[in-house]
């Protein structure tokens, strides 16, 4: 990013470096949410519908993990992906892939815990019907996830918000490499350390605007979906 420019100039002047950073931030966080959702949605729903000894413990741990410290997740993934670590042969440390994996781990508990709660509430409504129809457990999970889809949009957004806003994991596993793994949050941290506080603040406002836009789009999609579904 050129020195001595303001964030406004960068945004409206169409600075390609800034757009690349914004695109990478979106790419990493969206991929992380998708990856996390693939695991967390079925897991959360299954947890809502099953009863087993120790379930309360799992639920408490899951809820607690919504507050996983990003630096700890980052450090764990770092040690795992380091060349000296067990998955070092993959060679993905300091790449966007490593950042996606780390953020996915960070948001997985959030999506799973909120899904569990949503599906549990819905299950109270559907229990008699689904039990009477003798629906298999797998179909129950699928049915409830489908019928809760509009509420689950908010769950995914919570995960996205967490992913897009955090700096701890992406800094450690991505390395904040210029033009390769630099995201909005690590760019803000860097500009702060360079003493360019106005640019850092400007980038912060761009990030907040971006998160608002994503949420607005999701809200619009949800409204359209609700209207179509009646």
């Amino acid at each position: 990013m050129p020195d001595g420019t303001s964030a406004l100039q960068l945004v409206f002047g169409g600075d390609p470096a800034l757009y690349a950073i914004v695109a990478l931030s979106l790419y990493v966080s969206v991929c992380a949410v998708i990856l996390a959702a693939l695991v967390a949605l079925p897991f959360g729903a299954s947890l809502a519908l099953t009863r087993f000894p120790g379930r309360a413990f799992v639920v408490v741990v899951l809820n607690a993990f919504m507050g996983l410290p990003p630096v700890v997740v980052g450090l764990s993934v770092y040690l795992l992906l380091s060349r000296s670590g067990p998955l070092g042969f993959l060679g993905v440390l300091f790449t966007p892939r490593a950042m996606i994996i780390a953020q996915a781990l960070l948001v997985m508990p959030i999506i799973a815990a909120l899904t569990c709660q949503t599906v549990e509430d819905l299950w109270l409504e559907y229990r008699d019907e689904l039990t009477a129809l003798r629906v298999t457990p797998a179909r129950r999970v699928a049915t409830l996830l489908w019928d809760a889809r509009f509420s689950l949009v908010t769950t995914l957004l919570a995960g996205f918000g967490r992913a897009a806003a955090e700096v701890g994991t992406v800094m450690i596993v991505g390395g904040n490499i210029d033009g390769f793994t630099r995201t909005m949050t690590t760019a803000i941290a860097l500009e702060t350390s360079k003493g360019d506080l106005p640019l850092a603040m400007g980038l912060g406002l761009v990030l907040i605007a971006l998160i608002i836009v994503v949420n607005a789009l999701a809200w619009g999609a949800r409204r359209i979906g609700e209207i179509r579904a009646g």
Binding site: V92, I177, F180, T192, G195
Partner: protein
């Protein structure tokens, strides 16, 4: 419907999990916050890329952390500034050979009003005055090259900092820019490399108070991570980068980097003993 989604999901997971292909010509360089925050890399790397097509991915850490990153095999080249630590790294067999690249110097920064009155003194008298008056001093505290230099300076000046330190000595464990930000906010004294200081944009009331003392010399060196320890190290590309840095062309690129007409780093590849 469901099965197609499952397939898509699996494809997605596979795309993320497969090892990065080695198609790109790129190396990872573990370097210091001073070389990045000063803007040197943004100046020289495009020149190197234009010539060789090699992408240099810089991870900016403190010197100690950068060497550790290289010890774990997560970098191909280290470019740092703490000779004693670099020689230890070589002795452990993690580096192939150390090449001196350039130098600049450290400067003692403090409030322009200079409450202790150290402006223009030599570094020893200045540090002793800071200790005597217990003026607030910000230490990097992050095992970086500048932190190592600060600790060596206390020792050279006959001050046992472990004994002398008190609430006035604040170890923040962060990079150079963060230390300058903190010093500015706390009206404190701080040791900085000149490059980061010149490019720093939040100087506020801070100013250079002590400079030019030969004990404030700051040498940078570059090393290839030993492929014998870490076979995946891109030795060929990494060595190309090192060779370029110490070549007349690379040395000129370093010398050409200026802020407000002031040169930040002084090339000295091949200088004996550097």
């Amino acid at each position: 419907m469901i099965s197609r989604r499952v397939l898509l999901g699996l494809a997605f997971v596979a795309a993320i999990a497969t090892p990065a292909l080695a198609q790109d010509k790129s190396i990872v360089v573990a370097s210091t916050t001073s070389t990045q925050d000063s803007g040197l890399f943004s100046h020289i790397l495009p020149i190197f890329k234009a010539k060789t097509g090699i992408d240099v991915k810089v991870i900016a850490q403190g010197t100690g952390q950068a060497l550790d990153t290289a010890r774990r095999g997560d970098a191909d080249v280290v470019f740092v500034h703490a000779k004693a630590q670099e020689e230890k790294f070589l002795a452990e067999g993690f580096g192939v050979k150390r090449f001196p690249v350039m130098f600049n110097d450290f400067v003692l920064i403090g409030p322009a009003s200079d409450p202790v009155g150290i402006k223009g003194l030599d570094i020893e008298t200045a540090l002793k005055a800071i200790v005597a008056t217990q003026a607030v001093f910000i230490s990097r505290g992050d095992r970086s090259g500048t932190h190592a230099a600060e600790l060596a300076l206390w020792k050279d000046c006959g001050i046992d900092i472990e004994q002398a330190k008190g609430p006035w000595y604040k170890s923040i464990g962060q990079g150079m820019g963060a230390a300058l930000n903190t010093a500015g906010a706390a009206n404190a004294y701080v040791l900085s490399d000149r490059g980061t200081w010149l490019s720093f944009k939040n100087k506020g009331d801070l100013a250079i108070l002590v400079e030019g003392d030969k004990r404030l010399f700051n040498q940078y060196g570059v090393m290839l991570v030993n492929p014998a320890k870490h076979p995946h190290v891109k030795a060929d590309l990494g060595q190309q980068f090192i060779n370029w840095l110490v070549s007349p062309e690379g040395q000129k690129a370093i010398a050409d980097y200026k802020i407000d007409g002031k040169q930040l780093f002084f090339p000295n590849a091949g200088a004996p003993g550097a």
